[in-house]
Point group: C2
Chain length 204, copies 2
């Protein structure tokens, strides 16, 4: 067998192993209800395709995040998390009741983040094409090995501010405004995600 063909075989084996591994991870996450409900149909669709799979993804959400003052990710903790519209009544008490003696409390609206895997550069470029067609500006190929291409796509709708630390707490009026904006941005974020889903299924 020629060297080139051997490499191709190796890449093909690598891709099959990866696809199996991520399918298993998705199945486990589904069993444990750890997947955003609105993303499930798209994730299932992608993983049913021969040449694609998904890795950890999120449709976008509104959160309250506790961190240390150095913001180390390991020590951060969700105080509130929802993949959808949030009312003042369901979130503000969480801020009011939070003990922020030596911790930061952040309010964030985070955009979608998708990770899609594929086997070749050619297929990776198809995802980039769909991304551009959907008007998504942030993203690219993060891992580029034959048999293992991982593409990350990131929404741009986001909001992030400090809401509590020591004797500082955001006032109700100001928080109401930020929440209103966050809900609006989240809606816009979901619309962009839907656009991408459509474009991706056209090229895949």
């Amino acid at each position: 067998m020629e060297k080139k063909e051997k490499l191709k075989d190796k890449a093909s084996i690598r891709f099959k192993m990866l696809k199996r591994k991520y399918a298993e991870m998705l199945n486990n996450a589904l069993k444990e209800s750890k997947v955003d409900k609105q993303l499930i149909p798209f994730l299932k669709k992608v993983n049913s395709l021969d040449k694609f799979f998904t890795a950890s993804s999120c449709a976008g959400r509104i959160i309250l995040l506790e961190t240390t003052t150095s913001e180390s990710k390991k020590e951060s903790k969700f105080i509130f998390k929802k993949h959808g519209k949030v009312s003042f009544e369901e979130i503000f008490p969480k801020i009011r009741d939070f003990d922020a003696k030596d911790k930061y409390l952040w309010f964030k609206q985070e955009p979608f983040i998708l990770h899609i895997g594929t086997d070749t550069l050619e297929n990776a470029k198809k995802i980039i094409t769909a991304m551009h067609k959907a008007g998504i500006k942030r993203g690219g190929i993060m891992v580029a090995q034959e048999g293992k291409y991982i593409i990350e796509l990131l929404g741009t709708q986001s909001l992030s501010l400090l809401v509590k630390y020591k004797d500082f707490q955001i006032c109700e009026n100001c928080f109401r405004k930020q929440l209103q904006i966050a809900n609006k941005k989240l809606e816009r974020n979901y619309r962009r995600l839907k656009l991408f889903e459509k474009e991706f299924l056209k090229v895949s």
Copy 2:
């Protein structure tokens, strides 16, 4: 000449043209003082290398941005912009004096964004390696054609909130806190950028 060699030649010509074009754009931007001062040494260094060039990049900044309520980018306008630490005294009057009758006013601390171009997938992967070594989590290959690989790198330190709209204006106390955090995050952002510059020069 074989087909493969012809393609290689074409890619090489494409890369040389691109490198020349971006060098010219950088020179013009330098003449018009449109480049972040702290990025200049790194941009010059990258562009002096045979196989790399830079496209539009920013070291990270603190801004006040005016937008329509639909946040169309075309109609947005900088009310304040600085690539460095900002004092309450230099920014708060801009908020106070802003007429927000039918416009949003945003306060944002934006992270660095770098665009580096190179000729081959192999060299693109070197940039990704430097990115990971510097602990940068967001970024990837955005354009992948032989002779034209563009890699985007994005910092993660950011803050973004609405500070004025109609009869809403953020209160002084709350804004002071956000500004303090923004300055801290910007400092952290610059440190990460320095790390990447070091790692990139090792692999390039």
